[in-house]
Structures are given as structure tokens and as C-alpha cells.
């Protein structure tokens, strides 16, 4: 077990190191002057330039600069955004949880709706209800997420007026960000009208969560269905049938857990898709998450923000992926002890 953990930790650290190198070199890969890209300042004269270069350690070797960058990252000094002038750590600290929150609820939707639907379709495979679920899921799965989100806005916000179309909560509420998760923060906040605030936040969450969640749900249902059908055709199921077990007993004793095993690794892939989709949907719903924030940074050519944003998003994705994989390894006895860790 220790060995497994060490393997995964090494993998995580190495991947993050590679990412750091890439994000470090971005400053040199962006078009324009490196100093201007890093500071957002245009030095007026050579003296000023030299001073700035010294301050940002640009006068030293790449290796030195890289270690300086890494030590800054680790100590939490992530630099400042050109446009807002605020520390990037604070900005990412507000934007990132918003995205993760959205992705989490969508994931929950996929788990609690998609998997049961997949089981149902798998058990009753090649029946009318299976075909129905299957075709519905393929239809939803093929929707481009931005188009689907726009459709939801058009119908539920603008036509039916049942859900708001932008933001996390009405600006009338003053919610202090503690965890960054709006629902949690409302529960923690010291405000009157808590139920009303929750209601408001949920109504803001509904459409973006549904937009991302529907697609994740569809793919989850399809994966589960496939897995259940595979398990159903295994010899031990035939044996169980011949032993005279009822279909419920077969389902709970044999199919349920065995079908879950191949689903879990695929969930790890889903996380990446979810976060990417969340970032796209955010911009449509003016959700103050990392995707929206990155788009603004791109518009404004805010290079330090882009660099840190890319670093933050990829760190989250990599860490989650590795954690899910580790979790699989722990619960799946069928995998070999010495199998290598993968991303």
C-alpha cells in the first residue's frame, strides 16, 4: 500500500513539475517583451528596465529564474493581475471554487441520475425502455454544451422567466466567501433570510448545472449500460441463474458491484470533460468561475493571469484524476499490486 502511495505521489509531483516548466516558459513564448508580459509595465528608460529586470530576476539564468518562480508559487506569491491590480492568488481563490462547485453538482447529477438510468437500461437491454434511454442519452450527449446552455437560457430564462441567467446569487445578498462554495457559504454566513438566499442560489445554479450535468449524465448512463451488459453475459451470471437465484438477488449480489468497477476509471476522464464544460458554460451564465476569468484574461492579454490560471486549472485536473485513479486502485482488488500509476 505504501508503495502504491509513493508511486502516485511521485507521479503527481513529476507531472506538476512538468506543468510548472511549461507555465514558466509561457512568459517567453507569449508574443512581445518578456518584461512587459510579466509586469504589465512598459519601462520608460534603461535604468527603469534594469531595475525591473533585477526585481523580477530576469537578469539571472533561466534555472535561477525557474527556481525563483517555483518558490514564489509555493509561498503563495502568484503575482498580480494587470487589469484589476489584485493578487492573482485571491482572484483564483474566488474563481476556482465557483467552477469546482458547478462541476461537483453536475457530477452528482451524473452519478445519481446517470448511473441508475444506465443500470436500468442495462438490465432491460434491447427493450423499449432501453432504446428510449439509449437514444435520449445519445441525443443529449451529442449536443454541444454551449448550444445547449443557450437553449436553456432562451427557454427557461427569457421565455418562461423561471430561472435567472447570470451570476451565482442575487447581488442583494452579502455572502462572505469562506469556502468558495456558494451553498456552503450561505449556511455559514451570518445573514437573515437564509432559506431565501438558498433558494436564490439554487435557482441560479439550476440552469448551468443542468447544462453541464445533462451531458455528463448521458455519457454516464451509456458507460454504465455497456458495463452492465458485459457483466450480464459473464459465465458467473449464467451459473447464478442456474443456481436458481432470483433476478433481484443476481442484480444485488453479482451485477451491481462488478459493473461498477469499469465505470470508476472512466469517471476520472469525465472529470476533465466536466471542468472544461463548466468553463464554457460559465461564460454564458456570467458565472464568476475560472473559465470566465480566463476568457477575460485572454481578452485583456493579462499574461500573468493566463499563466497562473493555466497552472491552477491543470493542477486541479491532474490532482483529481490521480486521486480517482488511486481510489480505484484501492478498492479494486483485481488490479496487480505492481501495476504502474498512470495519468
Amino acid at each position: 500500500m505504501t508503495q502504491i502511495l509513493v508511486r502516485y505521489c511521485t507521479l503527481l509531483i513529476l507531472t506538476l513539475l512538468v506543468l510548472t516548466i511549461i507555465s514558466f516558459s509561457l512568459a517567453y513564448l507569449f508574443p512581445g517583451d518578456v518584461l512587459e508580459n510579466l509586469t504589465g509595465l512598459v519601462p520608460q528608460n534603461e535604468i527603469q528596465r534594469a531595475a525591473l529586470e533585477k526585481q523580477f530576476k530576469l537578469d539571472q539564468s533561466y534555472v535561477h529564474q525557474f527556481f525563483y518562480y517555483v518558490s514564489n508559487l509555493l509561498t503563495g506569491d502568484w503575482g498580480y493581475s494587470f487589469t484589476s491590480g489584485l493578487p492573482l492568488r485571491d482572484e483564483v481563490g474566488i474563481a476556482m471554487p465557483a467552477t469546482i462547485e458547478l462541476a461537483t453538482y453536475a457530477m452528482l447529477m451524473a452519478l445519481f441520475v446517470g448511473i441508475p438510468m444506465g443500470y436500468y437500461a442495462g438490465i432491460r437491454c434491447y427493450s423499449t425502455s432501453d432504446y428510449l434511454i439509449n437514444s435520449a442519452s445519445i441525443t443529449i450527449y451529442s449536443f454541444p454544451v454551449f448550444w445547449f446552455a443557450l437553449l436553456l437560457i432562451l427557454i427557461f430564462s427569457l421565455q418562461l422567466d423561471v430561472a435567472p441567467l447570470s451570476g451565482r446569487i442575487s447581488l442583494l445578498y452579502n455572502i462572505e466567501p469562506v469556502s468558495g462554495f456558494i451553498l456552503l457559504d450561505i449556511l455559514l454566513a451570518d445573514i437573515e433570510n437564509k432559506p431565501l438566499a438558498l433558494k436564490d442560489a439554487i435557482s441560479h445554479l439550476a440552469l448551468p448545472t443542468f447544462a453541464i450535468g445533462a451531458i455528463a449524465t448521458a455519457s454516464m448512463a451509456r458507460i454504465t449500460r455497456r458495463s452492465v451488459i458485459d457483466v450480464k453475459h459473464r459465465p458467473y451470471i449464467a451459473a447464478a441463474i442456474s443456481r436458481g437465484l432470483s433476478s433481484w438477488q443476481i442484480f444485488f449480489r453479482h451485477i451491481l458491484r462488478n459493473a461498477l468497477l469499469p465505470i470508476l476509471p472512466l469517471m476520472a476522464i469525465q472529470i476533465t470533460t466536466l471542468i472544461t464544460n463548466a468553463m464554457i458554460v460559465e461564460t454564458l451564465f456570467s458565472w464568476p468561475g475560472i473559465g470566465n476569468w480566463l476568457i477575460q484574461a485572454i481578452y485583456q492579454r493579462d499574461y500573468p493571469a493566463l499563466r497562473i490560471g493555466m497552472m491552477a486549472v491543470s493542477t486541479v485536473v491532474i490532482t483529481l484524476t490521480i486521486l480517482v485513479d488511486l481510489f480505484n486502485r484501492v478498492i479494486d482488488p483485481s488490479r496487480e499490486k505492481y501495476e504502474r500509476a498512470t495519468v
Binding site: L172, N174, L196, S203
Partner: protein, 579 residues
């Protein structure tokens, strides 16, 4: 089975929507305690003295601050605000302001006032932009664009404290637009006590970032690109004023004032003219910063905003069609015109200019370019100005007369000229190129070949200043209701070098008249002078006034008391929300 399936499916799909609709079912009273305004951009600062952009004054001027005087949004007259009355000496050089007592500054997390508003605050606020030696002058850049553009600082000789609630301002030259300038969005009153606390703390620049004023709302927080939050100012002076008024306490106060000043030459009206008390019934005011116009409209439709800034021309019909939305419109303080370069022949001949003016049909231009969101301009002044002359002479569409005048002036058919069309959209001319094309067509009918010229905005204005144009389609937006704000910058000789006189027109009679108008404070006398000015302009026609564009404000029907302020930024004081 399939029945159960359908049930389950529909359950799954609808869960989110049911949750969403719950929130909308009964709108709680809580939502009435705050107004959300979708503004178009970030303010540059929270002190409108430092910036002339309308975004800045929207976010600060009428929300956070008060001025000594105000414009009445209906009549355009100057009404008392922090100054309850004022006296002007006979020579028109000394203005004495009686200040209101019991006016409190905001009590915020960063400042607790220990005294109420008095003369020191007025002196501080004016001296800050007036005196380069003032300790706060160079804080936040040291540029005060509005006051610089009208040269007000140079004309003020002294600002003196007579007693705690009386301030005297002495001018060097007579200037009857002085009071109007004090009523603009930019002449706000800051807290002297706050400033001295800040300089003691060594953080003077906070005065413009964490503002303190006497206005109906106090500053709470600001997140760039996201929101500005304000809270109700619980000690707002207009609140107690309306209570006092019921006891007639205020009127007595006033009577005393007038007794004191019997020997003075003239007493300006000091009765509180705004009988609708401007107290804020809402607890919170929030500016939701939404740069995209279509998103602002969408938020207005879903009720996420109660009011929005600058609805686009193309969205006006959508707003009108919605029952729960109100589109308020009012003629703005602006003018779109067609100016001739009067220093170039043959445009130096008034008959040629009159001929060209007679060749175009202004009404068609209004329909095609403004989509009827403007009114036809006869003179430079829009109806919102007190000096507006309803019966002024106007040019009429008469191609026959135009051809005759051109022939008389010796212009041969086939004569060619340029029409410069400004490359940017402005309320006073949303599409100058289209207007130029229409005019081109009209001119062809009278035998004049026009070519349309356009550059990028900076180059365009530089070339205009150099006088390279034959004629230009451009306009002007004024900052206050005083007619001098139109006549002087647009056509006076002095405005040629600064580049606002697009007609390059210099007429001694005209300059004498508009200077005379500033030498008197009698509104009727000034009005008579401006009548003469209008007559002169009609005869000489250095420019053809085309349109005064409307100003629009879109808001939800729940809001009550929101009016368009033609003299500057939006005002949320006194606005209420009902369901």
C-alpha cells in the same frame, strides 16, 4: 414498466426546473429592499471632480454626493441643495451661499463623522480643484477636466468662510453660468474632516477610493468588473428635511435668512422647490457592471436588474413591447449638426450655406438615422434648456430655392464638396455615414456632387482642427443646462483654436452677444439675448442644426420615482420599489 420509466425520466429532467421555479413563485419582500442597476462599465474613480465620463458620474455624483445647487430635472432651473439660499451682489462678482445645517456625512466602516457639514467642507471641495497649492490638488492625478475645460479656477478670486454656514465666492469676471457650473455633476462636496483624518493617517488617496459624501447612499464595496454596492444613508438630510417641512420649521428658518439679507441686492429663491422628498426607501443600491448591452437587456427582462444604462437603439422596440418594462425617454442635452467650414470659399458665403441647408430634408434624416429617437433641432439649444426658444426660425426643405440661391452665388452645377462623417456612434448622431449618404443624395438633386470622408476618430478630429473639411457631420453634448455651454464652445471665435468650433466661424456680433448674456443674471434678459443670437445664427447659418437625440432609460415597472436626469448622471435617491 414504460409508464414508470416515463415518470422517472420526467422526474429527473424536471427536478432542476422545479427547484428553479420555486424561487420565483412568491417574490419576497426582501427583494424590495434593494435596487440593482446594470451599469455599462467601471467608474474611473469615485470622485466626479476627477473625471468627466458619464460612467463615473453615474456611479458617484448623485448617489454618494450632493452639490451646493442642483438642476431641477423638469424645468432645468437651478434649485437649492446643500446651499439653502444664495445672494449675488449687484456687480455679479460675489456669491454668498447660506448652507444647510444638520447635514451629515456618511458614517461608514472607514469614517465616522464627528461634526456635520459646514463651510469648511465647501471651501475644501472647491479649493481642491481650484488651487494648485492645495495639499489635495495633486492627489489622484491632479487633473480636474471639467473645471479645466471651462477655466473656472482662473475666474475664482477667493472662496471665503463668513461663518460656519455661510460661504462667499468672489469672481474676477462676471459669469452668469457660474451657478450652473456649481450644479453640474462634477461640483460635488467632499468632507474636509475625512480628508484631514486621511492626511494624518498618511493615506490621502483613499479619499477618492473610499468615498464619503452627504448623498442618499453610502459606499460599501466595489469589485472591478463585477459590482459596486451602496447602502442607504440613514441620516440623509432630505429625509429630516421633509419631516421638518411638515412642521413648517424650515420655512421659518428661511424667513430669517431673508431678513438678514434685506440690504443685499437680490435674493435668489430659496424655498425648497423639490417637494417630493428625495429619501431612499431602499436599503441597498447595487451597480451590476455588465458591459454587454444585450446581456443588460436580458437581465432586465428576467428581473435580475431593475434598471439599465444605455439601451441600444435596436433594443428599444423590444423594451417597448414588454409590458413589465418601461422605456423612459427625454430629449437630451445634445445637438447633432452639419457644420460648414466658413473659412473656405464658397462656404464663407452665407447664401451658399443657406442653399445647402434648404437642399436637405431634416425630417427624413431624423427617420432614417435616428429611427425617430430624436427631435428636430431648430437652434443649438434642446428643449431641456431654460433658454430654449420654441418659435425660433428653422430652415425648410426647398430644393427650388436651393438651386436659385446656388445659381445666384455663382455655383455651377457639378460643383463638388466633401462631407466629413464622424466615425463613431454618439447619441446625437448614431450613424453619421448613413446621414452623409442621404445628404449626398439630396445635394445631387440640386447639382452638387458630394464625397464622403472619414478617418479614424483621433485623426478625424485632428484634421478637423486643422480645417481640412468643407463640411462635417458631428455634434455636441453639454454638461449643464446653461445655454452658454452650447453657444460658446460651438461657435465663438475663442473656440476655433481649441477645436470645438467645427464651422471655424468667427463673428464679432455673435461673440459680443454671448458675452453680454453672461453679464446679466436676469433670466428674461438673457433669454432675450439668446433670441437675438438664434436670429443671427439663422441668418448666417454657420451650421445646420439637425437633431436633439433622446436619452433613454429602461427600467422595470416595479421601480417608482426614477426619472431621467437630462443634466448628468442617473439619480437613485428617492426611488422606491414595489411589487
Amino acid at each position: 414498466m414504460s409508464y414508470g420509466l416515463v415518470k422517472r425520466l420526467s422526474l429527473c429532467l424536471c427536478t432542476a426546473l422545479v427547484v428553479a421555479s420555486c424561487a420565483k413563485q412568491n417574490k419576497q419582500a426582501f427583494y424590495n429592499t434593494g435596487i440593482i442597476y446594470c451599469s455599462e462599465s467601471n467608474p474611473v474613480t469615485f470622485n466626479p471632480q476627477l473625471d468627466t465620463s458619464s460612467t463615473t458620474s453615474d456611479a458617484s455624483s448623485h448617489q454618494l454626493y450632493d452639490r451646493l445647487l442642483d438642476f431641477d430635472p423638469e424645468t432645468g432651473r437651478i434649485v437649492p441643495s446643500l446651499a439653502s439660499s444664495w445672494l449675488v451682489t449687484n456687480d455679479g462678482l460675489t456669491y454668498a451661499f447660506q448652507l444647510r445645517k444638520d447635514v451629515w456625512f456618511h458614517n461608514t466602516e472607514y469614517f465616522t463623522p464627528t461634526r456635520n457639514f459646514n463651510a469648511d467642507d465647501v471651501i475644501f471641495s472647491i479649493d481642491r480643484w481650484r488651487l494648485t497649492s492645495h495639499p489635495y490638488h495633486y492627489i489622484s492625478g491632479g487633473r480636474y477636466p471639467y473645471f479645466e475645460s471651462i477655466g473656472l479656477a482662473q475666474n475664482i478670486a477667493a472662496v471665503e468662510r463668513i461663518n460656519g454656514y455661510r460661504v462667499e465666492i468672489t469672481l474676477k469676471r462676471r459669469d452668469s453660468s457660474f451657478l450652473a457650473n456649481l450644479a453640474t455633476d462634477f461640483a460635488v462636496i467632499l468632507s474636509e474632516e475625512y480628508a484631514s483624518q486621511l492626511s494624518q493617517a498618511g493615506k490621502p488617496s483613499k479619499i477618492d477610493e473610499l468615498p464619503v459624501g452627504t448623498g442618499p447612499f453610502k459606499f460599501e464595496s466595489y469589485r472591478k468588473d463585477h459590482f459596486i454596492k451602496y447602502r442607504r444613508h440613514e441620516n440623509y438630510w432630505r429625509l429630516s428635511l421633509s419631516a421638518e417641512e411638515n412642521d413648517n420649521g424650515y420655512d421659518q428658518d428661511n424667513a430669517e435668512d431673508s431678513k438678514e439679507s434685506e440690504n443685499a441686492s437680490k435674493l435668489a429663491i430659496a424655498i425648497n422647490q423639490s417637494d417630493e422628498s428625495e429619501h431612499s426607501a431602499v436599503e441597498q443600491l447595487i451597480f451590476d457592471i455588465t458591459p454587454r448591452s444585450s446581456l443588460r437587456l436580458a437581465k432586465l427582462m428576467t428581473g435580475e436588474c431593475d434598471a439599465t444604462a444605455f439601451p441600444a437603439q435596436t433594443e428599444l422596440e423590444v423594451i417597448r413591447a414588454k409590458e413589465d418594462l418601461i422605456l423612459a425617454e427625454k430629449p437630451g442635452l445634445n445637438i447633432g449638426f452639419w457644420a460648414f467650414n466658413t473659412q473656405r470659399p464658397p462656404f464663407n458665403n452665407p447664401d451658399v450655406r443657406r442653399a445647402l441647408a434648404a437642399a436637405i430634408d431634416k425630417n427624413t434624416l431624423l427617420e432614417a438615422v435616428y429611427f425617430d429617437s430624436a427631435i428636430r433641432a431648430k437652434t443649438l439649444l434642446p428643449a431641456a434648456s431654460w433658454a430654449f426658444q420654441n418659435d425660433a426660425d428653422d430652415t425648410a426643405y426647398n430644393p427650388v430655392l436651393a438651386r436659385k440661391l446656388l445659381a445666384d452665388a455663382g455655383i455651377k452645377p457639378g460643383f463638388s464638396m466633401t462631407i466629413w462623417a464622424m466615425p463613431v456612434e454618439r447619441a446625437y448622431n448614431p450613424n453619421a455615414t448613413k446621414m452623409a449618404e442621404l445628404i449626398q443624395r439630396y445635394l445631387r438633386d440640386v447639382g452638387v456632387e458630394a464625397t464622403i470622408v472619414s478617418y479614424d476618430w483621433t485623426t478625424f478630429r485632428r484634421h478637423l482642427r486643422e480645417g481640412l473639411h468643407d463640411s462635417v457631420l458631428i455634434g455636441w453634448s453639454a454638461d449643464n443646462g446653461d445655454p452658454d455651454n452650447f453657444y460658446r464652445p460651438l461657435l465663438s471665435c475663442g473656440a476655433i483654436p481649441s477645436g470645438t468650433n467645427r464651422a471655424m466661424w468667427c463673428n464679432q456680433d455673435y461673440d459680443r452677444l454671448i458675452n453680454d448674456a453672461l453679464k446679466t443674471d436676469d433670466i428674461e434678459a438673457r433669454r432675450a439675448i439668446y433670441r437675438q443670437v438664434n436670429r443671427l445664427l439663422y441668418e448666417r447659418l454657420p451650421l445646420v442644426p439637425i437633431a436633439h437625440a433622446y436619452r433613454y432609460q429602461a427600467y422595470r415597472s416595479e421601480l417608482e420615482g426614477l426619472t431621467i436626469n437630462p443634466f448628468g448622471g442617473v439619480r437613485f435617491g428617492g426611488v422606491e420599489k414595489t411589487l
